[in-house]
Amino acid sequence: MTDPLFLSIGALGAAYRSGALSPVAVTSQALDRIAACDKALNAFIAVLAERAMDRAKAAEAELRAGKDRGPLHGVPVGIKDLVEMAGVPTTFSSRAGSPRQGRADAAVIRHLEAAGAIVIGKTNLLEYAYGAVHPDFGQTNNPWNPALTSGGSSGGSAAAVAAGMCYAALGTDTGGSIRIPASYCGCVGLKPTYGLVPLDGVQALSWSLDHAGPLARSCADAALFLEGLTGRPHPVAAPKLQGMRLGVMQHEGAEKWLQPEVVARFEEAVKILEKAGAGIETVSIPDLALASDAVLAMIGPEASIVHQALIAREPEKFGPITRMQIEAGFAIPATAYARAQLLQQELKRRFAALFDRIDAILSPAVPWVAPAEDPPLNDDSGPGEMLYSGLYNLTGLPALVLPMGIAGQGLPAGLQIVTPWGADDLAFSIGTVLERAVGPLRPDLARLSR
């Protein structure tokens, strides 16, 4: 029999409504899965067991009474531990300014809980979502191989979804922090259009580049979770690629980092989309290679301003790498920040012109499969990791990552689909075509619970 924790959200909802499954039983199983596997993964900072079971009982009672809140009703979800929830502490995976007791629910929590979703726990992250593991909290390990990282910074959310501990989870993405873990863990992650998902109550890192979005196991599930986050419908149209123009983006210098098996899976994915009717062409944008530099020049000073009070008051409570990154950001020249903004505007103009003649852009999500640890920003591999992701934080374009197969060492690799501003749903439609061809990827949970 199918593991209920790996059902799609749609199938779970149908089982709830037919009486084949119940929110109480499923939430209880999800808590059991966390108890069995999270020692190996370290995906959760806090498991809200009692609260989740109370909500599950309420959801069950409501559904029985005919009060149906929609597709997320009774569905266990995870929340990255930098989102405020009333009465629940937030750690930000840091000792600085942490834990902070939540006084009010973030807008995304209000929307999700109004839709009936059950928050099962707060997920692990890189400290304040800023590129480094705090030693006290530790790395979230990869469900495909717990000796490797799940990626950052939303690694806890990605690992929890991939291991069937919840059906979807919230991540945030300032340079790739939803999409990199999605690629490493073999799940679906969307960095939506800038501004689509409300960020009030979500800890800021860099206000020019911050986004929040879904991690899930399919495009359909991610779209339903996005509806929950925004409180607005995001219907995924039946995928029709006939007549669509897809551009394979060229990235100068990418060959330095690209693993051959990632290239092979990418070429296969492009062929699948072409066979489904899409026209494929190679596209390029001048000065794209500067995008990662611009992201670093913007994150640095903005993160330092966000954390200026904490770094002055209790610097030793930050992890050593995060502390150095925040300190160094105070010394980034204003001219570098302004040049980054100028590049941001110019790239937006160039992408807008490109989208006049193509429908979506394709690239790998990350040049490689999951490494042992997240690369630090200041060594050569840091910019390599966000080669394909950071530019879409800069431009605010929606960017979806989904698995394109197993690329080496038994590890998944992700495809990135980028669509025009506001066309987040189109990315889901295109992704669905690949998803049907590749089939579901699932890690071996037995190795996590030994």
Binding site: L296, P301, S304, E327, A328, A331, N378
Partner: protein, 65 residues
């Protein structure tokens, strides 16, 4: 391209950080030098940004989303 941090020592970096709004001891600034030099490499590359791009309007498609 000349590296903008060439010749920068801990005392100099401490002054730059202070101008940005954070005070720190000199030994802390010394520990920060390698990371700062790496970040400044990114900033140095941004010198290639064309100042002629300034003042051009934002794309209509983005404004109209």
């Amino acid at each position: 391209m000349a590296r903008s941090t060439e010749g920068l020592d801990a005392a100099g970096l401490r002054r730059v950080v202070r101008l940005g709004g954070l005070d720190m001891p000199e030994d802390r600034a010394a520990a920060l030098l390698p990371l700062y030099a790496a970040l400044m490499s990114s900033c140095d590359r941004l010198a290639a940004v064309d100042p002629g791009w300034a003042g051009r309007p934002a794309p209509e498609r983005e404004k109209g989303r």
